[in-house]
């Protein structure tokens, strides 16, 4: 992997680094400044090739829920993204020792606590792997891996329109391709660098047509002015593009973020209204108020139940 990346970027200046953290974790880095011209860091991850799933993400009742971090950071630059507060650097880290991640997944499959369920593994959790597939073909590698495992269910979540880069692979029901969808007004204002929603839908529709299990993620729901009609239109457009029988399931979640991350982001940038809304703090997280959250999710769920049975809709409140 490292060799092929060095060959691909043969015109770039290469700086050798003993440990990726010595550049990634430097103090006083400015996330948004680096985002304007981020560097690619090739690294080896020596430990933690698998993490238990967090309560911030829907697990669809699957108990053996894990995620991994094959890369750090994301090619997109969404205003609401918690990575701005979680990582000290916007540089894109690619861990090149994929074999260790695959071994960890194999071990976890064997050691999973509930043997009646597969290991549910999100590989595009703190990043967008499919958007980066033309640089690092990890989706391809992991889909191939999943095809060979009997007790593994992968989720690859994306905002990209890059289905084409894996469209030649045989379909497997062990991989869910999940598209995050937002109304155009939200996407154009807050999801910098990500493709417009109609292109994501085209990509998702192509995958669904070929038979891939497709998940639709309405997450984070953001209450822009007139949000109800924007989300209604989005859901109508979505199911016009993708027949409901081709959709495996859908997830709904309101905007939420670790309060500490939000504080860190606000120290570096004060130019997005989404970072300055009147959120309520509950535990370690900030989100819309206790009263607003069920109203938002109920509304979206009701729209979705016109197309999907309730058991195929997972809601985070």
């Amino acid at each position: 992997m490292a060799k092929s990346l060095l060959k691909r970027f043969s015109q770039s200046t290469v700086v050798s680094v003993a440990n990726y953290k010595s550049i990634f974790a430097r103090p006083r880095q400015h996330f948004q400044t680096q985002k304007q011209s981020s560097n690619l860091i090739l690294a080896v991850k020596k430990e933690n090739h698998l993490y238990p799933g967090s309560g911030q993400v829907q697990g669809f009742g699957l108990e053996n829920f894990f995620y991994n971090t094959l890369t750090l950071n994301c090619v997109y630059n969404c205003d609401y993204c918690y990575l701005q507060g979680m990582y000290p650097s916007a540089n894109q880290v690619v861990f090149v020792n994929s074999i260790d991640f695959l071994d960890a997944a194999r071990s976890a499959i064997s050691a999973r606590t509930n043997k009646a369920q597969p290991l549910y593994l999100c590989i595009s959790y703190d990043t967008d792997l499919l958007a980066f597939e033309n640089v690092v073909p990890y989706c391809r590698e992991w889909i191939t891996f999943a095809s060979e495992q009997t007790d593994l269910l992968l989720e690859i979540r994306t905002k990209s329109a890059s289905y084409r880069s894996i469209s030649d692979l045989p379909v497997t029901d062990r991989v869910i391709l999940a598209w995050t969808l937002s109304p155009e007004i939200v996407a154009s204002k807050y999801e910098r660098g990500a493709p417009p929603v109609h292109r994501r839908l085209e990509s998702a529709a192509s995958a669904a047509k070929k038979g891939w299990p497709v998940r639709l993620c309405f997450d984070p729901v953001i209450t822009v002015p007139d949000w109800k009609s924007h989300y209604q239109k989005l859901i109508e457009t979505t199911f016009d593009a993708i027949p409901c029988r081709s959709v495996r399931d859908a997830t709904v979640g309101v905007f939420r973020m670790n309060a500490h991350y939000l504080d860190r982001i606000r120290k570096q940038r004060q130019n997005s209204d989404i970072l300055y809304s009147r959120y309520e703090k509950e535990g370690e997280n900030v989100s819309y108020s206790k009263e607003q959250r069920p109203e938002i999710t109920s509304y979206i769920r009701d729209l979705l139940t016109r197309h999907l049975p309730p058991e195929r809709i997972e809601v985070w409140t």
Partner: protein, 285 residues
């Protein structure tokens, strides 16, 4: 060259001389411990040779600066070169931006951010504690060699982010210890002033990228309110955040706060009452 808050550190007076002349810098006679030259936007300090002196001088000029987030700090000077090959093969007089620093004695490495868009070759720099001669039985990584870089960087990084720090080195020798002619050193540096200006412009553009909805004018208005109402540091912070909420939520300019520049305030209590009124107004916008 637009040079808001540009801080330049050189080791030698001969390196500083062409810059002093080009930018019309004047010696700051109030500084006794350090040789400092200034214009309204550039501060240059001559540190003397060695990483400790460079760290002291860098700290000396940055410590009094109240707001360093828009400063850029540049170490400029001559350096030796060892075994630069391929694209990095060089001649005496070639200049490089440093993308990695290696402190030979501690074994530590440092990395400035290379974000500036300027056409300039890059190289690694090793900082050594004494002049290094190719005949010595010491091997250093291929690249540039100086005696200040790591000290400068450690000090600068105490005050500034890695995107604000740059090191630019002009090759003066291939590790032959000999006394260099001062005029020759000045000429070497002088030839790089146009590129140096371009580098500074590029770094300045980066640090002046705006990530705050409040404009300089807004901040000035808020400071005038603070001064007149005698607000505490904490109150001023709350006021500033409320102003951001107001602008971002409404999408409109700040409401007229000018009455609060002049309203008569007899004590802290009265100031606090005005402060609460402004805050409510901002949050209701």
């Amino acid at each position: 060259m637009s040079s808001f808050g540009t801080y330049i550190v050189t080791a030698l007076q001969a390196e500083a001389r062409p810059l002093i002349s080009h930018f019309g810098l004047k010696q700051d006679t109030t500084c006794h411990a350090l040789r400092v030259y200034r214009s309204d936007r550039i501060t240059l300090v001559v540190s003397g040779t060695g990483k400790v002196k460079s760290a002291i001088a860098t700290t000396g000029v940055l410590q009094p600066v109240a707001e360093t987030s828009r400063a850029i700090v540049l170490n400029l000077g001559i350096s030796g070169a060892s075994n630069l090959k391929g694209d990095q093969a060089c001649e005496i007089g070639d200049g490089f931006l440093v993308n990695r620093l290696f402190d030979y004695s501690s074994g530590r490495s440092y990395y400035p951010d290379m974000l500036a868009r300027c056409e300039c070759p890059e190289a690694m720099l090793t900082t050594v504690d004494r002049p290094l001669d190719s005949k010595d039985d010491i091997s250093v990584p291929d690249g540039l060699v100086d005696m200040e870089g790591s000290g400068f960087f450690e000090a600068a990084a105490t005050f500034c982010g890695p995107h604000q720090i740059a090191l630019y080195k002009v090759v003066s020798d291939f590790l032959q210890v000999e006394k260099l002619d001062k005029e020759w050193v000045s000429d070497l540096i002088s030839a790089h002033i146009p590129r140096l200006e371009s580098i500074c412009d590029s770094y300045q553009a980066i640090v002046h990228e705006e990530y705050d909805v409040l404009s300089d004018e807004d901040r000035n208005l808020l400071r005038r309110v603070r001064d007149n109402l005698r607000l505490t540091v904490s109150q001023f912070k709350i006021l500033t955040e409320s102003a951001r909420f107001c602008k971002l939520e409404s999408g409109n300019p700040l409401p007229d706060l000018s009455p609060y520049f002049t309203v008569s305030v007899s004590g802290k209590h009265e100031g606090k009452q005005h402060f609460e009124r402004i805050r409510e107004r901002l949050l209701a916008s």
